[in-house]
């Protein structure tokens, strides 16, 4: 069965520090993977996506993620966190053959001043 796991439920970082959010997936073929961000009371906004090709993908707001097949990971990174990055982050990947997505449980990011 396909699955997406985000091991960290809650992460706190200081403003200006670097950030890495972990995502592990289970999928037989080459997956397509996404990172979404959700601010309180809002829908999900796409940060970046990986379909194929270059394993390091750039997204909006200075985020990037690296697809590592050997580790079944797609971790999200940002070199310097801003207070406005405080939100919930979801990793998502495919399940089955209909193109539907399954989401990880999410990681809540808190940014300390």
């Amino acid at each position: 069965a396909q699955s997406v796991t985000q091991p960290d439920i809650h992460i706190t970082v200081s403003e200006g520090a670097s950030l890495e959010l972990r995502c592990n997936y289970s999928y037989g073929a080459t997956p397509y993977l996404f990172w979404y961000v959700q601010s309180p009371g809002q829908g999900l906004q796409l940060l970046l996506k990986y379909f194929s090709g270059d394993t390091l993908v750039q997204g909006i707001k200075g985020f990037e993620a690296e697809f590592k097949r050997s580790q079944s990971s797609f971790n999200l990174r940002k070199p310097s966190v801003h207070w406005s990055d405080a939100a919930e982050y979801f990793c998502a990947g495919p399940s089955g053959n209909t193109g539907k997505l399954i989401f990880g449980q999410g990681t809540t990011l808190q940014v300390k001043p």
Binding site: Y36, G41, L46, T98, G99, K100, I102, Q105
Partner: protein
């Protein structure tokens, strides 16, 4: 380009009542999704439409939930009768086709008392 529209944004009902949510996807998007997001969890797919046909409704509680997309454009999701455990945010998303990024609406927050 207008985004995915949903209404209402908030709804409070008592258990055993019925409720309906409406979604208008981005123009031209063939695929429409309804997700349920329980507090503290990632979104879970309830039903996926391709134009006006159902692609996946394996996780839709069909004894109480129903959805339709009659003209292949907007969609309604209905719950009848509602239970306490249906309290959640209901997200609608659309994409140009399957196996593509999904664009999310702001969601409807349902509280069942």
């Amino acid at each position: 380009e207008a985004g995915v529209a949903q209404s209402p944004r908030y709804k409070i009902i008592e258990k055993r009542q019925s409720v309906a949510f409406w979604c208008n996807p981005i123009s031209g998007h063939a695929t429409l999704y309804w997700y349920q997001q329980i507090l503290g969890q990632g979104p879970k797919l309830l039903i996926q439409f391709q134009n006006n046909g159902v692609v996946d409704d394996s996780q839709l509680p069909k004894d109480r939930f129903s959805a339709e997309r009659l003209k292949g454009v907007d969609s309604t999701l209905k719950i009848q009768p509602a239970k306490l455990e249906d309290s959640a945010v209901y997200l609608c998303a659309s994409s140009p086709r399957t196996w593509n990024e999904q664009f999310f609406g702001p969601g409807t927050r349902l509280t069942v008392l």
